[in-house]
Every structure is written in structure tokens, then in C-alpha cells.
Amino acid sequence: MRYLPLSDADRQDMLSTIGASNVDALFSDVPAEFLNAKIDLPTRKTELEVERHMSKLAAKNTAAGSVPFFVGAGAYHHHVPSSVDHLIQRGEFLTAYTPYQPEIAQGTLQVIFEFQTQVAQLTGMDVANASMYDGSTGCAEAIMMARRVTRKKKAILAGNLHPHYREVCLTQTQYTDDELVSQAANPSDPEAELQAVIDAIDDTTSCVLVQNPDVFGNVRDLTAVAEKAHAHKALLVAVFTEVVSLGALKSPGEMGADIVVGEGQSIGNGLNFGGPYVGLFATNQKYVRQMPGRLCGQTVDADGKRGFVLTLSTREQHIRREKATSNICTNSGLCALAFSIHMSLLGEKGIRQLAMVNHKKTLDLKTALNSIEGVEVLNKAFFNEITLRITGDATDVVEKLAKKDIIAGVPGGRLFPNAGLDDHILLAATECVTDDDIAALTAGLKEVL
């Protein structure tokens, strides 16, 4: 077996050093009736056979780069420079452990420090952690953090929060002390959705979670929400699913957010059918000791050389056990590395350009779609996502377009079942969308509507 370096002769030698007659003697603690169970699974394959099998599976999927593609709603088809993927595959990054031995992990640690800085800058906050599993689980962590900070329990989830994020929050907090209030989605009047949040805030509120741009693509200023929240000693948790939007929009920090949490997949990471992604989590200095997840801090080594270590780990489960702030043990290290490398390539100039190219493509998309009979684009202000209302069933339309090799977007009913949004389609347009793609979608829609 190509991955196993012991020869049979080695095995015999080693058994005799150990003083065991055969390898099953080493398993003598296992009751005999359970040892060497028959398992009905195939035996080993050559590398070539494995490649063939997996390639066949891969070929049954329609890759985003191969067709006109407009799906967003929490994951985005962006172009990642090839240098990013090259660098994250360097064995010293790829096969390193969590940097608990800082003398031989300064590579990973300095990257985390730079990553934390980049996330703090993008979000307009003081500090960020070393990453979370993804945006959705980060939201649940934010709710619990707000409870620890405010010592209040009621969290309000805005209606236009990504419904998967809402479900994750509800699930993860069902046995904690948190009390969640979910509001109704409102694709066509995002200002009303915001007002409903503002109206719901009272002295029992620990936090409000508001997504911007919201799941339908609407852009708002959250300053008024922050003001109302702060007036009631509640926290504004600003959520985003499209981190590229931070290159074009006023930062959550400037709007008064206390915690910012979101999905970082768009920078450095592929679609990957939903994972792995990288959750971004930032807050202000005063709350740092309540922040979940790993943190890297600057220090010096015994020779006085600047270096970095994981720090403030007394919050974590391997020290605190049942009193830990979270049961999370890992972060999304390699995805965070990819994010950080891509951000280093972009820099402020690049992320601003990237954001504006995205916005322009989406503007072009909106203009093209608005011209179609039976299609209405709902958004007034948006970044790189828009929502359509069409005459007809969205699922049906999207499937028909898929048959034409056009991947149009997400039917409203897939994200909001039984919510009366079956005639809505959520679309995104990134720098990967061409004029031809927009023309193909437009023509396709006209045919199937």
C-alpha cells in the first residue's frame, strides 16, 4: 500500500522487539467477538483508478466556471488568483498543526496576526479572531457572546437574515440560556424590515442580528439600528455573507456595530459545494475577552525578536472544560490563510476595484433583466445581489434554465419554504460574469417565461 512504509519484514522485527507474537495480540483488550469484524467495503485501488472514479463523479456536476452562473445567497463565485492556491499547498502550511509550539509555527502565527488585522480593517472594528467555522456558526457564537457581555438573553433576528443562518442560530441556542426572536422576511421593503427590528428593541434585548447586504441583496445603513440598540444597552451584531461588499460599503464599525460576523469565502476560497468556508468575527477592544475562538497576539522571543503566540486561551475548552465560552476547538486555518494571501494581493486598492467591478456587473444584470416582460427587480440599493419577482414558478424556471446550461439563481422557495416567495429568484453577479453570460440569461429567461 503506497502510503504505508512498513514492510512485512519490518513488522516481524518490530513485533519481536515488542514481544508480541502477532499484531492481534496488541488488540487483546478488544473482546474477541468484536475484533476483525467483516466489513462489506471495497479493497484498495490504484491512484489511477481512484482518479477515474472521482473524476467521473465530478463530471456529473455543472461547475460554475463552465456556464453562465448567477447563484449567490451566501456563497459566491469569484476568481481566486492561482498564486493563492499554490501557496496554501506548501507543505509547511498545509501539514502544520495548530500553532501551539510557537518556536516552530511562526509562519502560521504571523499569518493569523496579519489576518486578524485585515479582518479588523475590513469590518472597521478593533480586533478580530483567528476565524470561525463559517458565517452561520459565527452568528450563533455572536448571540452567546452578546449574552455574556450584556447579561441579557433576548436576541432579535432580522427578517432578511439568511434563513440558514437563522436556523443555525435557533438550533445551536436551543439548550442555552438564549431566547431568540425571529422576524419575518420582507424582500420588497428592506427599510420596513429594518424598522421592525428597531421597533422590537427594548431593555431586555441582548442583541439584534441584521444582515447587510441582506439575503435579497438590499443595502442599508444600520446606524439607526445601532443607536436604538445602544440606547437600550443592547449590541448590534452586523452580519454579512459577501465580504467583498466591505470594499464598497461603509463599514459595520462606522455604522456602530458591536460585533461583526460574516462569511469570508469570497476572498481566497472556492465554492466547494458549501464548505469549507471561513467565518470572520470582529468586535471592539472592550469585548475582546468575551470573544469566542482563537486569538493570536504579538510578543517577543527569548532573544527579543518579535514573534507571535496564541493568547487569551483561558477562555477555551481545553482549559475551562464545561465552563468554556464555546465548545469550538478548531478554526478554519487554511481557509483563513487563503483569505489572507488573497487580501495581501488585493490590498485596499484591489478590494475597492473588485467591489466596484462586482457592483457594475450587477447593475448591468439588473438593467438587462428589468427589460424583460414579466420580470421585476425588487432592489433599489444593492451591491452584487438582486432579487427578481417573476410571473411563474421560480423553481420551474430555474430548472428549465439549468437544462439550457444556464444556472440562474436560487428560487425563493428553496430558502423560504411556504413563505409566499415561490415567484422570487435571488441572483448574484461577480467579476466572473461576462456580458455574454448576461445576454444568455436574458435570452433564456425570455424563452422559458
Binding site: F34, Q101, L334, K349
Partner: protein, 485 residues
């Protein structure tokens, strides 16, 4: 040489990415444009290559040498897995595109599920948890949901003293009180104490098997029966499944739920701290409570994912993450499984156990064994052999760096004084182990001979000397600030 920060070599004016030139246009951003500086430094591509190449060279990884980190299973990461995960049909598909266009992706999840359920002899698996600890949450939530469904709310979870910290943290997260079970002198759970603790308040028992001392709980079947007789559930932490995969099916042992550390057992690279993946297999007792999404077949035999709880009567406990979980890890794990085959997986488990016992047997005269019996995939030493030397477990571990190795796991499990947990994994050759053993013997002899200096400020030959962790925690500097401006 120190590597500068990107902020010290880049600038907000530079970029390493080109975009098409945009003509002027009227944005529709609702007046919420970003006016303030962002501050992120950009670098041209050549400087990005160098910055990260040089940083990487300050890391130690599996690709560089033996990585005997107990409980963490730092095994070889085949590059075939990386290649397959990057096929556009896997890496460039969106979780919400029409299911008719991702049949291969769902088929892959189905095939992975077959491997996981058959290897454990358990009927269902929930793939979506994002990591081992997330899997624990999944398992315990399903248990709580099942108790609630029976109208039988319970309040206590039992965990051994030697449990991973995530076990009690997870139980607490699900609203349970945690009660510790002591260990016997031979490193196994004290079954009498466990049985004595079982009463109608006990919702579940969380065990790790092989346990955190690297030993197989030989009374596991009796323990399982006692748990079930009490109407409780048996959660097994699968962190050490790599010792028995292909050899023993946890379902046969009476386990009700077990998470995999899919990444470490089936060889996704650790990546300096994730991403991981923590699928959970469930027994018949719990199979109705699994989270969404899960795979279903439609009438035509096409694959689909059930993404939502039904309005009425759905017993699923909910959703643990957006979308469908860690596809990138599913791809790698299945590639690894197909490569090994079930025969290779069994052989790998045997080799892992053989390697650990070889190290244990070779070092037991030089270091002090915590428990004198065959171990499973890792062997555990305490700091007895360092008594009166002035050298601590930490010092000893840091000296290993000078020998060209990553240190073993230190001070875990907590039940052993100054624990040193060594897991060579099946990836090491006898040549590598012999070199490693020689180094350890040399270090142990040096420590005993009174050569403290070799240890106290070790490592001497690493890129950095010991870092001041106290300074870092006392006045945390968690981001770069331009002190000039």
C-alpha cells in the same frame, strides 16, 4: 532573519490583482459608500510569493518529519486528495445550484456515508458538522431531542476525568450538568463507579474509545449495556477511531452516537488549525433525530438533499451550519478511503498500533510508562523519569525540537502527571522510528545525567527561541497598528 509584516512592505496603493478598467457609472449603493480608508496593505505578486514562502519556512509540518503529537493523528496527507478536491466539478459548484446539476456531489456524499456507516456498523450518519467538537454537539443534541421526544427530560451527562475538554464543554452547551467518572489504576474507566452513577437523571455517558490514555476500554460492551438499561445513551468520542478502523465496529460495541474527526482519521491536512469535519454516526435509537440536510432519493432515483424541517412532526433537532457541510473534506476522505480500501484501512490501523507499541517497548526503560500494557495507537509516558532532574515535560518537549521533531502532546491527559502522549501514526517507517527512538533515548539520558542546560532554554536550533506568552496575554497586541501615524 525576521520577516516583516505585510504592512511593513506593502502599501494601500499597490495591488497584485488586475481588473478590467471600469468606465464611470452611477452606483446604486444607496448612499452607503465606503468613504474612510480601509488600510489593508497590497503587494505585487512577486512579493506575495516571497512573503508567504518565507513565512512557511518558519513552520514545521508533517512533510518535514515525524510529528508524534498524541491524540492529534498527524499522518501523511496524500497529494492525490488535494488534486481531487480541486477538480472543478467539486471545488467550483455552489451549494444552492439546482440539485439536478450536482448529482455527482450528492452521490459522493452518499458513497462517503456508505463507508462511514459500514465501517461502524451503524445505520445513519449526519455529515454536516464542521469539526469534531461540532460533531459532539450534533450527537448530544440528538440525544437530548430523543429524551424530550420520550417526555423524559434528564439533566446529567457523565464524562471520564480523562475526557477531551470538548466533551464536558459540549454537554454544558446542551444544558447538561457534567459529572466526572474516575479512572482505574490501569487507565480505564472505573466501571463500578460509572454504574453507581447511573440513575434516572443521567441522559448520556460520553466515553472516548480507545481512550485518551491510548487504551482500549475492554469493558465497553458491559458499560454500554448498563447505559442502555438505564435508559441513557452512549456517546463515543471517535477521536481515536484511527486505531480500530477496519478492525472493530463501534456499533457492535453498543455505541449510540460517535463523531469522526474525518480530517485527521481520513487525512485532510491539518492546515495550521482547520478546517476539519465531524460527521456523526447514529444507532437506530437516535436515527430519527439527525439534523438537516440529509440525502434522500426522489421517485426517479435521483439524489436530493432534504434541507428543511417539516412543519409538523419532524423530529430532527435542526440545522448545524449553512449549506451541506465540509464538501472539501468529504472529497479528501473518500479519496483516501478508496485508495486504501477496507483492507488498507485495517492495515493502517494495525500499523498505527504496531508503531506505537514499538516506540513504547523501545523507550520504556528510558522513560517512564504511565500504564504497563500494550497500547493502541499512542503510548503514554509520565514525567517520573525526569524526577529530580530539574527538567520538566515542557523542557523535554522543547528539546525535541532541536532534534528535528515536533514535540509530543504534553500535559494531556490530565490524569497522568506531566503526561507525554506519543502517537507515531502508521505513516512512519521503521527507519524513522528508530531515529526517533535514538533521539529520545539520548535526551532522556542527558536529562538524567544532569545536563539541564540542554533543556532549559531549548529550542536552540529553531527559527525562534521560546516565546514570551505571559507578555502576550498581559497586554494583548492583536493587530498591526501603524505607530508612525
Amino acid at each position: 532573519l525576521a520577516e516583516p509584516l505585510i504592512y511593513e512592505i506593502g502599501s494601500t496603493e499597490l495591488t497584485g490583482v488586475d481588473f478590467e478598467d471600469l468606465e464611470e457609472f452611477d452606483a446604486q449603493l444607496g448612499g452607503v459608500e465606503r468613504q474612510s480608508e480601509i488600510g489593508c496593505a497590497g503587494l505585487a505578486e512577486p512579493d506575495v510569493m516571497r512573503h508567504y514562502t518565507r513565512l512557511s519556512r518558519r513552520n514545521y509540518g508533517i512533510d518535514m518529519g515525524v510529528f508524534p503529537l498524541g491524540s492529534c493523528t498527524m499522518k501523511h496527507n496524500p497529494r492525490l486528495n488535494e488534486k481531487i478536491a480541486r477538480l472543478p466539478g467539486f471545488s467550483n459548484v455552489h451549494p444552492l445550484q439546482p440539485m439536478s446539476t450536482v448529482q455527482g456531489a450528492i452521490e459522493l456524499m452518499e458513497e462517503l456515508s456508505t463507508w462511514l456507516t459500514r465501517m461502524t456498523n451503524m445505520p445513519v450518519v449526519a455529515l454536516s458538522p464542521k469539526a469534531g467538537a461540532h460533531g459532539e454537539l450534533c450527537g448530544v443534541m440528538a440525544m437530548r431531542k430523543a429524551h424530550e421526544a420520550k417526555g423524559d427530560a434528564r439533566s446529567v451527562v457523565l464524562c471520564p476525568e480523562s475526557a477531551h475538554g470538548t466533551n464536558p464543554a459540549t454537554a454544558a452547551f446542551c444544558g447538561y450538568k457534567v459529572k466526572a467518572i474516575p479512572a482505574k489504576d490501569n487507565g480505564r474507566v472505573d466501571m463500578q463507579a460509572l454504574i453507581a452513577s447511573l440513575d434516572e437523571t443521567v441522559a448520556a455517558v460520553m466515553l472516548t474509545n480507545p481512550n485518551t490514555c491510548g487504551l482500549f476500554e475492554n469493558e465497553v460492551r458491559q458499560i454500554a449495556d448498563a447505559i442502555h438499561d438505564n435508559g441513557s445513551y452512549f456517546y463515543c468520542d471517535g477521536a481515536n477511531f484511527n486505531a480500530i478502523a477496519g478492525k472493530v465496529c463501534p456499533g457492535d460495541l453498543g455505541v449510540d452516537a460517535m463523531h469522526f474527526n474525518l480530517h485527521k482519521t481520513f487525512s485532510t491536512p491539518h492546515g495550521g488549525g482547520g478546517p476539519g469535519s465531524g460527521p456523526v454516526v447514529f444507532s437506530d435509537r437516535l436515527k430519527d433525530y439527525v439534523p438537516v440536510p440529509y440525502i434522500v432519493n426522489d421517485a426517479e432515483g435521483k439524489f436530493a438533499l432534504k434541507e428543511w424541517l417539516e412543519i409538523e412532526g419532524d423530529t430532527s433537532f435542526g440545522r448545524l451550519t449553512a449549506f451541506h457541510g465540509q464538501m472539501g473534506m468529504y472529497t479528501r476522505a473518500l479519496t483516501y478511503m478508496l485508495s486504501h480500501g477496507i483492507d488498507g484501512i485495517k492495515q493502517a490501523s494495525e500499523d498505527a498500533v504496531l508503531n506505537a507499541n514499538y516506540v513504547q517497548a523501545s523507550l520504556k526503560e528510558d522513560m517512564s510508562l504511565a500504564f504497563d500494557s500494550y497500547c493502541m495507537h499512542e503510548c503514554l509516558f509520565d514525567d517520573g523519569f525526569l524526577k529530580d532532574t530539574g527538567v520538566t515535560t515542557l523542557d523535554f518537549a522543547k528539546a525535541m525540537i532541536d532534534e528535528g521533531y515536533h514535540p509530543m502532546t504534553m500535559y494531556f491527559p490530565l490524569v497522568v502527571h506531566g503526561a507525554m502522549l506519543v502517537e507515531p501514526t502508521e505513516s512512519e517507517s521503521k527507519y524513522n522510528l528508530d531515529q526517533f527512538i535514538r533521539s529520545m533515548k539520548g535526551l532522556a539520558a542527558e536529562a538524567k545525567s544532569g545536563n539541564k542546560q540542554r533543556f532549559l532554554a531549548a529550542p536552540y536550533h529553531a527559527p525562534y527561541a521560546r516565546l514570551d506568552e505571559t507578555l502576550a496575554a498581559r497586554k494583548p497586541i492583536l493587530r498591526y497598528e501603524n505607530n508612525e501615524s
